[in-house]
């Protein structure tokens, strides 16, 4: 069976994050928490952030959704953990551009496995899945200010 066009979307690394999510769970109550839904499809991601002196000391996520939304959340936590807040927000912006197809590769920023989601840009119906966790993270940090 050939799955050529699907392989660009569901890359091995994405399915690995989906099946073995990193940084999955909750953080102590003093963490910033924000839940975001994708109301059209029922995906729900809750992002927990521990920020000290503009540094993301810890990040975890919970929720339910499709492979793309959960893998993206897992990848995001790896990418932003230990990063300065402004770097994390810049990454989020870059990631959005990557999803919208405004850029097709990352130049100097290292966003880790998240780059593997680039194939999503060819599936417009799934872009919202991929950006859900990032949007929740952005909103959580706004709330914290």
């Amino acid at each position: 069976m050939s799955f050529n066009n699907l392989d660009s979307l569901y890359r091995q690394v994405i399915m690995d994050h989906y099946k073995n999510p990193r940084n999955h769970g909750a953080l102590p109550e003093n963490a910033l928490t924000l839940e975001m839904n994708n109301p059209t499809c029922g995906d729900r991601i809750e992002v927990h952030l521990m920020i000290e002196d503009d540094l993301i000391k810890d990040v975890k996520f919970e929720g339910e959704g499709c492979s793309i939304s959960l893998a993206s959340a897992s990848m995001m936590t790896e990418a932003i953990k230990g990063q300065k807040l402004e770097n994390a927000l810049a990454m989020s912006e870059t990631f959005s551009k990557l999803m919208l197809g405004e850029i097709d590769e990352l130049s100097d920023e290292d966003m880790g496995d998240a780059e593997a989601l680039q194939g999503v840009s060819k599936f417009p119906a799934r872009i919202k899945c991929a950006t859900l966790a990032w949007k929740a993270m952005e909103k959580a940090t706004n709330q914290g200010e």
């Binding site: 979307l9 569901y10 399915m15 029922g42 119906a125």
Partner: protein, 406 residues
Amino acid sequence: MDIQTIRADFPLLDQEIHGHPLVYLDSAATAQKPIQVIEAVNGYYRLNNANVHRGVHTIGTRATEQYEGARDRVQQFINAKHREEIIFTRGTTTAINIVAMSYGNQNLTPDDEIVITQMEHHSNIIPWQQLSKRTGATLKYIPMEADGTISLAEVETTITSKTKIVAITHVSNVLGTINPIKEIAEIAHKHGAVLLVDGAQGVPHLKVDVQDLDCDFYAFSGHKMCAPTGIGVLYGKKSLLEAMEPVEFGGEMIDFVDLYDSTWKELPWKFEGGTPIIAGAVGLKAAIDYLEDIGLDQIALHEKELVDYGLEQIKTIEGIEVYGPTERAGLITFNLTDVHPHDTATVLDTEGIAVRAGHHCAQPLMKWLDVTATARASFYLYNTKHDVDRFIAGLKKTKEFFTNVF
């Protein structure tokens, strides 16, 4: 009923998606449009477009005749007693909201009850939640049976003398359950309540006779029955509609306008504020002509054949859960074990097969099913057994992809 002739009427179906001939299995979301409907709307704009009910000129008269002619056609189609019982709306949602805002606001008090079910589409839940908040009336749910049906015994115990409005779907957009409307109407009336039926999934697939059902209100959308989007119908019994206040005020719906007060037109126009959906009504009439020409009974039979075949086939795939009762309308809602429905829908899409994935605007029902989302394949008059075969093959491929590739 010759499917190939029917398919030839639907230009959209004749295309390739990702290199495969399109299999459209999302008619419960919106149906495709036959050339007869497209041409009717086209012809209206090319020849007869004018505003209605005001033109002294010839074109204005033609537009009015077409618009009001569509009303007569709808009346006949659902067998309403009077033509003024047919109100054109934007769709089912608007129709239900008119009843909740008008009838509901005028008649409900904090002592009263509104009764619905957990299988309702959001459009038949939220207007009642809001009405309950506005008036203090209690919102109650008729419990569902394990197979996704409603038992009349539960209807009997849930509806009480305090119940003023019962609102229930004719056909569930997720489970395919066909509810016993006539029997529920009888129970509602025995307690002095009115019955509103959400017919969005009913009218496109079943022969509906509102007098026989004896429902008080019946709401449906054109776009799910081959008509354009943006046109729908609220049917209501004349005596009820006459006593109801309009909810939209402005042009078209007035009789006399004074500086500080105004009076309303008669039925049905008092509920049709603003320039009406003329082209939509023309399209709806063409869709009714089209469907009745084939025969609603024939269409229902064809859908039953497809859904029975589909259910039989889908059960041969291991690790698949199908929701809803055996006796059902033409749709199959399901989940593949360990594959999220979005992922299922994406893989099927790459095979040219369009299905719906998500909560289907029925979050309370998803809760009842204890799932966050499901996938749904829905059939209509233009689908074939071959479509079902492609769908089943696509599901097998999806399963193969997610179990063996990773």
